[in-house]
Symmetry: C2
Subunit: 320 residues, 2 copies
Amino acid sequence: MATPVSPIAIGIHGGCGTLDRKLQSERDWAETEAHLAQSLRAGWKILAAGGRAVEAVEAAVAVMEDSPHFNAGHGAALTEAGEHELDASIMDGATLGAGAVCTVRTIRSPIRAARAVMEKSDCVLIAGKAAEDFARRQGLAMVDNSYFTTERRKQALASLKALKARGTIALASEAERHGTVGAVALDGRGNLAAGTSTGGFNNKPPGRVGDSPIIGAGTYAKNGVCAVSCTGQGEVFIRHVAAYDIAARMIYAKQTLRQSADAVLEALGSHKIGAGLMAVDGAGRVYAPFNTLGMARGWIGPDGVAHVGTHKEILRLGAA
Amino acid sequence: MATPVSPIAIGIHGGCGTLDRKLQSERDWAETEAHLAQSLRAGWKILAAGGRAVEAVEAAVAVMEDSPHFNAGHGAALTEAGEHELDASIMDGATLGAGAVCTVRTIRSPIRAARAVMEKSDCVLIAGKAAEDFARRQGLAMVDNSYFTTERRKQALASLKALKARGTIALASEAERHGTVGAVALDGRGNLAAGTSTGGFNNKPPGRVGDSPIIGAGTYAKNGVCAVSCTGQGEVFIRHVAAYDIAARMIYAKQTLRQSADAVLEALGSHKIGAGLMAVDGAGRVYAPFNTLGMARGWIGPDGVAHVGTHKEILRLGAA
């Protein structure tokens, strides 16, 4: 590997729609934390070996897509029709290259498809069946739509449909509805990258596309500025161009990542929605604000110490 | 109507991929200009009667969608598969409300569907068949995919396929490939709006989504700042979050619309692509830069004088 010229860092999130601690067994929480740690390590290993930020982001997100504990890939939310439609995007801050897929049903790892769109096509965003055909041609793993289904999401869908039938949908917790996974990374060459993957929200209308596959809304990265992956009600993130707004405030208003992210989160929160994000700046400073009960998350900063958490508390796992 | 508190203005574009003047008959150019004028008047009439900027934008864009001279609606580009897949979006600068559809095949006026998504759904973006089902339920006009086909696009597709077969695709002019329509407006209450509609580009891969339905990339509006609709190779606009970047420079770096739009166009142009945009600021100043041979466009500023043009020259049509 080339001699590092930059500190390295990685941050991941598993969505800001964390359940109340009491609503899930301690065994499930422990497994959630273990999968966060596994995701972190998958990304960190690549960075520590001199790999690129986009590779680290892809690897970290793919681990969470494969885990049933997060709303992406296996474990994704169900549409009103009881099916899965997945969205993902990735951005390379070195080149402003980007790739994304939306409303895909049979690609096991949508983040890998997003990276293939970025690197192997002339497109940035490919929708639906055409994206599946593209992924198949790229040799990516394909699955039946039912591969993504878990008992928890089926129960959540049934519960949401019951609430809706009774006209009490507003009582549904953010956790039963939303969820997303994402990662941001800074590699040893100073390159930033960000990626996001999601099943959308439980009981979503078919065809609905949120912010996760939208560059500038759910995902953004630019070298020397920041890499951002967002989680929360996507429509508000799109309307606020949230991920790029964080970068724009840093570029044009000379705000720090923390000032900028706090300001954007406040603007999003003014719509009375749950919102969170994971971000890293060009110096490897990780920042992960959220306005909900919790946000599954983890990071390893330039000091090499791994942290994970699902609620306010953070577990320090020690050196990566 | 309420007493106006703001000057009114409208700007429209029919894409920056204008053909060389010699490549089309004078009769076709005259009809193109007539349709631009008709689009302008459709929007202006609403503004002058005290209507809302979003209504004016929708009406102006719908006229260009119905014209065979622009790459949107009837006259849209064809995919590699010889079909039409249309994208559109609209944004209300008063509320940051937004609506969009992508890869739709049977909605006569995608801009009307985008507005229905904004006002009659909880979504911002709906993709593919689900968007068509939504439009049908909203009572919008539905057509066969073949309604959008014109002889000119069939010839352009055949010509592009021939060039590609000979490996000389780079010789294809921007005009044979790209095209978009859009409108921006400022109403008497000081509300800004923007909308964009497109068939993408000739010989595009099925499923490809460009910047036109992406809020922040192809379309953006925020009261007191600007309304923007973009035209050019969409992938680059997405990666630069072009439409919102124009607003962000005005908000955070205190640039004028002209300074900001020029800077963004220069950044886009550095990718060696054709690019253009139509924009209006909160005071009704219209600005429409492009780096190509021409851009079909027109505007009526606060002085009430209509202008249209397809190349560098601008026709002053007189009072609207």
